[in-house]
Amino acid sequence: MGNVVLYMSMSVDGFITGPDDGPDHGLGVGGERLHDWLSAGGVDPRSHRPLDDANAAIFDEAMATGAVITGRRTFDNAGQWAGDHHDGVPIFVLTRSAPDEPPPGSARYVTDVGDCVAQATAAAGDRDVLLHGAATAQACLRAGLLDEMELQVVPVLLGQGRRLFEDMPPDHVELQLVRVLDGPGVQHLRYRVRKAG
């Protein structure tokens, strides 16, 4: 079975968007800075593949995942990826209440975090599941369902915006550092969540 892996680009001060993120401004004011390590591509996600080896390796790993889990805010702010994040793999959107209209393409709404992870891992088979979005990452962490984190640490302080880690309980979550890669303009830190017991 594959792992549930969080992929997020984060500033050194812990932000994943600038201020005032929303549907018209998915990464908030100035938040596009966090994606400078990606190539400036077009609509097709694959057109953002970086040229550098290390950055491309991380990108390729993300694109090799067999399912996507994301939160409603990330999904909507990303224009619902027009229904296809990559290669038509199923997208599981965690939301408190599913809208009446069905989501586009390979996306589906799920209201329970346990169901969401179970369905996504089943759909991914032997491949990993790509997790994207702060709220969903926090929900999976709290439920003990997050296996790994692949963070792209971008050398900038944004000052304000939406944080990756916020409103968590004061219980420590111990991590195992499993890999560090340096790309131009970004450090890739991979951690495994150490489960209690």
Binding site: D13, P155, V156, G161, M168, P170, H172, L175, L177, V180
Partner: protein, 195 residues
């Protein structure tokens, strides 16, 4: 001229102390978890190297909270180097040892650089770091990133304006995988780019 460099141990989620830090509990609830890597401060590897660099600094800048929580270092942070404590209100009693109080952040930076001469200035504490950053007086950051999420506590970066501060990575050190995974820190050194 001396470089003013922040040295701070930070959890991956950005905390430098656990919740409810105070004089009686300087690292907050369970915050001493952050300092497990210092068990290797005398090792020949990266953690020993970084710790030796801390001790080679010739002046210290700290914020008032950090200074008080640390028991005023009993007047001596290391080797009797001058310690400049940034504070809004200078206490009536004279500071101990090599401590002096400064109320203006630029004046604080100027005095610390002068005292350090050709060596470096160490900054310690979130409040002092933020004040120096806002004033454009922080040159570098050396962050010891600990493999843990504390969940709550005092953040290193908070209350900063929504203005990007670009950084350049100048060094990245990782300890070889220790027997004890809690000591497996990444030391990231960044230079603050002047806009």
């Amino acid at each position: 001229m001396a470089i003013i460099r922040l040295y701070m141990t930070m959890s991956l989620d950005g905390y430098v102390a656990g919740p409810r830090d105070g004089v009686d509990e300087p690292m907050g609830v369970d915050g001493f978890r952050l300092f497990n890597w210092l068990d290797r401060r005398d090792d020949p590897g990266p953690s020993g190297q970084v710790y030796a660099e801390v001790l080679a600094t010739r002046a210290v800048i700290a914020g008032r909270r950090t200074y008080e929580h640390a028991g005023r270092w009993q007047g001596d942070h290391h080797d009797g180097v001058p310690v400049f404590v940034l504070t809004h209100d200078v206490p009536d009693d004279a500071p101990p040892g090599s401590i002096r109080y400064v109320t203006d952040v630029r004046e604080c930076a100027r005095q610390a650089r002068e005292a350090a001469g050709d060596d470096d200035v160490m900054v310690h504490g979130a409040g002092a770091a933020q004040a120096l950053l806002r004033a454009g007086e922080l040159d570098e950051l050396e962050l010891h990133v600990v493999p843990v999420l504390l969940g709550q506590g005092r953040r290193l970066f908070d209350h900063l304006p929504a203005r990007h501060v670009e950084l350049d990575l100048v060094r990245r050190l990782v300890t070889s995988e220790p027997d004890d995974l809690v000591q497996h820190v990444v030391h990231l050194r960044y230079r603050v780019r002047r806009s």
